[in-house]
Amino acid sequence: MDFDLSESQNMLLDTAKKFLEKEAKGLARQVEKTDAGYSPELWQKIAELGWIGLVFPEQYGGIEGTFQDLVLLVEEMGKAVFPGPFTTTAISGLSILDHGNSSQKDAFIPALTDGELIISPALIKPDPLMNESIVHDQASMKNGKYLLSGTRLFVPFGHVAGRFIYEADTDKGKTLFLIDAGNPGIRCLPLDSIAGDKPCEVVLEGVEVSEEDIIGTPGKAEKIIKQINTRGALLESAYICGMLEQVLKMTVEYANEREQFGDKIGALQCIQHQCADMATDTDQVKFLTYEAAWKLSKGLPADKEVSMAKSWASDASRRVCLLGVKIHGGTGVMEEHDMQIYFRKAKAEELAFGDGDFHREIVATQLGL
């Protein structure tokens, strides 16, 4: 049993804290009004720091960290609400590493760890009840090439991705493709969202893709997608964990400074108890996330643990941020204060890779129900 970080994890987080403190302060606020929605300049810097390559082998420009290291780094990013396609690029790269062939690995992972290539999973199919006018899924063969059409939603940073991970139902069954975002049949539309984090609508119309762009065995997409979703859910939990730690910190600081009725509001029992509840909720997210990360890193089955973490994180994200807003009072709802950024981001992270109800349902299944 060890709840401490390793030497190298401490070093990684030390650097991360310093870097984020120096470079990323106020970044979330700045970039959400830009078209990119993130800072390409800082993206290069974190590539140089080895963050994008954190979990990849040296031969591909990585530094061979564990998935647990990645979780810890993402937690730090969450504290700073660091914007960008970091987690989704990392898990996309891991899919190529785990399931791609060697030429795919050679072609894409070094570009990814260098910060040159952003890969985004484009896996969420629209519910036609929400909007009927969509390009429906089609996959046919022509001259040995696949012709793919379809609509995918909420593709993270799709507008700056070089490649999409895309699933199509081909003659061989559900098959995963790594599609060049520059393909002329693709349209990508960033959507305005509560978190200002550029989820995209990606539309394929008759996009020609060759067999070489298939990841893994044709017809076997589902297992890889599940892995992507599991990793994604856990990294979101870590990001939420960081956010909530920061919200708690900000809130306690505010309460310990703010005076009303001749006393610090932090001396009020109701404020203290709300902060205690925020702390407990946050620690629950943290430990559940850490345990799931440890299991994933060890290669142990972790579906249940990941879903426990994400279900708690999703619900705690709203609970904790709402208390944060309330304790900040009028200040907390002002655009100029950071509190509201966390509140808005929390909604996006709550939803990403499945909300609380969704993951509790998975836990139930994992319990054998």
Binding site: N131, I194, E259, V325, G330, Q340
Partner: protein
């Protein structure tokens, strides 16, 4: 016990509804304007005046000042219908400033301000909050010095939400440095359009609502700006709370109904979890509605709804949170996209509401302040 409106009240309600229905386009346009977060636009003014010209904006006021001399229940009915059709609850003039002018103003002030308020022609912006005086209103520090012929005002006010379209500032300022602090506060009416030295600076909320900071830099205001007696402002504010307490959940009921229709349409009506959430919300909204009715009824019967009003305020704000949160949960990932996006459900209305509703947890007293009131005034638990 009787939970229905009287025949006269019912008739009145029909009339009010008919106005909004006959002015459907205008109502919708006003609602849309209001929901930009920018406050009153031309359509809002227009509909307010249509309400006002019938005497409905201040139905409890005497006829000479533009009212109808009716009971609080009629005001409740108007507020309910306004909330339902245009989302505007009331005006600060009709709900907060006016009642104090009516009770404590000079005849001159009454004649000058009340009729245009009742007609919906002018609006007041509330000027109580300061950076160090939020829940603790008595701590306000903006200074109003009596200079013989005029008052000299220096200082600033935070969260003056309606400042950019109101004619008057309803200003709470310090006229005496004294302990307890609340004994040194006076109320003033400041003409925002014609007074030099005032700067209005916008602040934006997370919900996209514009509010304002107002700076007073050696601002001179006439002596007759003072409302009532000097240093009695805090008492007047507390007194006026009664009137302010008329509240409604009509907007929530409307949104809830739309949400239920949406769930049916999107074929999610069979989902037991959604059914539980909506079933629970229905009960919660209904209980909040009954709280609101009770407060109006108490006012009409000469009872002081101090803890009941606190319960109402808290319950409405929390029910609103449950509503927006439930809606967002039902939309799933589609909830996060905003107005104008083709994937936005209800054209992003709940997405905005999800942000904008936060304010209601805080303004007019946080839920924690309300719980203090319920415990101490309602249950007789000790005050410190």
């Amino acid at each position: 016990m009787d939970f229905s409106f009287s025949a006269e009240e019912e008739k009145f309600k029909q009339e009010v509804q008919e106005l909004f229905i006959s002015e459907e386009e205008l109502s919708k346009a006003a609602k849309k304007e209001w929901n930009t977060g920018l406050g009153f636009g031309p359509n809002c003014w227009k509909i307010l005046q249509k309400i006002g010209e019938r005497g409905w904006l201040c139905p409890t006021w005497p006829k000479e000042y533009g009212g109808l001399g009716l009971s609080y229940m009629y005001r409740y009915i108007v507020v309910e219908q306004m909330h339902h059709f245009v989302d505007i609850y009331t005006t600060v003039g009709a709900g907060m400033a006016g009642p104090i002018i009516l009770s404590h103003g000079t005849d001159e002030q009454k004649n000058k301000y009340l009729p245009p308020i009742a007609r919906g022609e002018v609006e007041f912006v509330l000027g109580y909050t300061e950076p160090q005086a939020g829940s603790d209103l008595a701590a306000l520090s903006i200074k109003a010095e009596d200079k013989g012929d005029y008052y000299l005002i220096n200082g600033s006010k935070l969260f003056n939400t309606r400042a950019h379209y109101s004619q008057y500032h309803w200003l709470g300022a310090r006229t005496a440095v004294i302990k307890p602090k609340y004994k040194g506060i006076s109320l003033f009416i400041v003409d925002l359009k014609n007074t030099p030295g005032i700067t209005i600076s916008p602040i934006w909320s997370v919900g996209g609502t514009r509010t304002n900071e107002i700076f007073y830099d050696n601002v001179k205001i006439p002596k007759d700006s003072l409302v009532g007696e000097a240093n009695r402002g805090f008492y007047y504010i507390l007194e006026a709370l009664d009137y302010e307490r008329i509240s409604t959940v009509a907007g929530l009921e409307r949104d809830f109904k739309e949400l239920v229709e949406y769930v049916k349409e999107k074929r999610k009506a069979g989902d037991p979890i959604i059914r539980q959430k909506l079933g629970g919300l229905a009960a919660e909204i209904e209980s909040a509605r009954l709280f609101a009715l009770k407060v109006a009824w108490m006012l009409d019967n000469g009872r002081v709804p101090n803890y009941e009003a606190a319960m109402l305020k808290m319950k409405v704000a929390e029910t609103e949170q449950n509503l927006v949160n439930t809606a967002m949960q039902i939309f799933g990932p589609y909830g996060q996209v905003q107005k104008g996006c083709r994937w936005a459900q209800f054209d992003g209305q709940f997405e905005r509401f999800y942000r904008d509703s936060l304010e209601n947890l805080i303004t007019r007293g946080t839920s924690e302040i309300m719980r203090n009131i319920i415990a101490q005034r309602g249950l007789g638990m000790p005050r410190r």
